[in-house]
Symmetry: C2
């Protein structure tokens, strides 16, 4: 069902500072910056590796305000890993399969994620405390 | 410097239960089980994907006792993501390079990690709250 670790999402207070840190310390490169109003985040994707089934990234997330999911995460736990995103071939199918096994879904239907992906989140209480995201990358036009 | 996301380490109370969950819900497969006395953990590596620069895994970690790093993590924060491990070509060189940029090192010298790897941890306070591991996989014998 999982094609790859698509990304690890990391919550931070200051996106530009954290990008600069990951670039200068680890040599990662920003490949996308977006503001996702519906998720309440300003974010950047930093490329780590290419794989047979797509690339892997570090996703840095800064909340647009304290009253957002990532804002509340930072207030409660401080900076750190926020979620894991796994690549799947078909997010609608994966949601149905996982939901059918009794895992609660935060998103019953896919929504728009980073870099044109269709994404959906699973409830962390049913995945051992790990906020888990399914990521279907946009089809490559040949 | 980073070849891939080698693994994401997830702390849990009951390793066998969590393995069964990841197998049945997400279709992942255990490729290694180990007890690492020096780190105070019983662990399993579940294969997620192969890449140009090696594979990616989910690492499930159960503490051998409450008085271990993962035991204290569980007591303080509950189950969830414990660390990110990045593949590097040469862990000694990466440690020198990263330490030279002012990041505090938990391990000044590499130690033994999962599946024969040489590993070292960076201090989470200097990596935005993320406990960060460097992983040099054992050389493949041709």
């Amino acid at each position: 069902m999982f094609l790859r670790i698509d990304h690890v999402g990391i919550a931070c207070h200051n996106l530009e500072e954290k990008i600069a840190f990951y670039e200068s310390t680890f040599g990662l490169t920003v490949v996308s910056r977006e503001v996702n109003e519906s998720q309440g985040v300003r974010e950047a994707m930093l490329h780590v590796a290419d794989g047979e089934q797509g690339a892997s990234y570090i996703q840095l997330l800064q909340p647009l305000s304290p009253d957002t999911p990532v804002g509340r995460f930072l207030a409660a736990r401080g900076e750190g890993v926020h979620h894991i995103g796994y690549g799947v071939p078909d997010v609608t199918r994966a949601l149905a399969e996982i939901g059918g096994k009794g895992v609660r879904l935060i998103d019953e239907r896919p929504r728009h994620g980073s870099m044109g992906a269709s994404i959906a989140f699973l409830h962390p209480k049913d995945v051992g405390g790990v906020l888990t995201e399914l990521v279907e990358s946009p089809k490559q036009v040949p």
